[in-house]
Symmetry: C2
Subunit: 166 residues, 2 copies
DNA sequence: AAATAAATGTTATAGTATTACATTATCTCT
DNA sequence: AGAGATAATGTAATACTATAACATTTATTT
């Protein structure tokens, strides 16, 4: 899976399928259960590279075998977060599949304000900068998240065609 | 006002008073009104260096001259956000006074998971790293926020005394 | 003073998340 | 296989966060 796929055309079905398979294997490796419910919700989260809210997922499991109530969804989201299989985008109250599960998480996202796609980037410079500033302030880092808002390559060119540049 | 004051003992009353005064002057300079309601809520937000939720503020204006309803609070928060006088901490659904109003905002916070205090840091390295990675992905940055979680200096030493170090 | 614009009041509702307890499915051990 | 323990899911209620729509009041402009 290519890192920039969130912002470019690609075979997303394959993208999704391989993410599910990878999640299954990681769960097995970690001795936790990738149940039908978890698989179904994880698959739904991977339906696109747009962060999706818990209640959207709730709507989508209506009619399935599972209880379409908030705890069903939130419990499963908590599991997937714990396993590092998904991330939460705080500013959107939404969830998105992790592109490097099992590897170190940088928690850095570029979020397009036009098309809502979010790209997770693994960036050492940001991590280094965070560690440096934290050290300067004698702050012991446990976790961090960086959410970058703006316009993805696609949406920039569309804007260029329709707006006067500043 | 010292930058690290959120994590250290200081004369917070003076800290709060000068923040209110600075806000008043900035509003005057920008031709917007720093009304009684806005001043009262801004003062409440500056009651400490802990991010505070809208509904906590709502509780606190009960008994005042103002209508203690959500729109009252949210509208005022929106105004203060627009003027760059406060920030929103996305992961906490909470608001905190800005330490450098009028200056460039980096939107970087170190948040102590133990004592809830949050320190806004103005850090060029993080900004540079974000601009660099955004440029690499041809992403046009409009805004960003970095929330760093961990333990502040005070809470670290308390932990050191009560826990075995790893 | 009248007209306009800005701010606040008021009511209702939408959206997000958790608590507590009951039931079912799976695992472990004999 | 069966009993007991653990994990996962079902269910009902509630708490928390935020916005929409419209009315009224206050401040500004002419
Ligand atoms: Zn894809
Ligand atoms: Zn886009
Ligand atoms: Zn202070
Ligand atoms: Zn602390």
């Amino acid at each position: 899976m290519k890192v920039d796929s969130a912002f470019s055309h690609h075979n997303h079905h394959q993208c999704q399928t391989s993410a599910v398979e990878q999640a299954r294997q990681l769960c097995e490796k970690n001795g936790v259960r990738f149940t039908k419910l978890r698989e179904q919700l994880f698959t739904l989260i991977w339906q696109s590279h747009k962060p999706v809210t818990a209640y959207k997922l709730l709507d989508q499991i209506k009619g399935s075998d599972f209880s379409a109530t908030p705890p069903t969804v939130y419990r499963t989201l908590d599991f997937l977060l714990d396993q590092g299989l998904i991330h939460r985008i705080n500013s959107l109250n939404a969830f998105i599949g992790c592109c490097q599960p099992g590897k170190r998480h940088t928690g850095t996202f570029m979020i397009c304000e036009q098309c809502d796609h979010a790209l997770e980037v693994d960036n050492t410079n940001i991590l280094n900068a965070i560690q440096k500033v934290s050290h300067q302030h004698n702050f012991q880092v446990k976790n961090y998240i960086t959410e970058i808002y703006g316009f993805c390559p696609q949406c920039q060119s569309e804007k260029d065609n329709s707006e006067v540049q500043s």
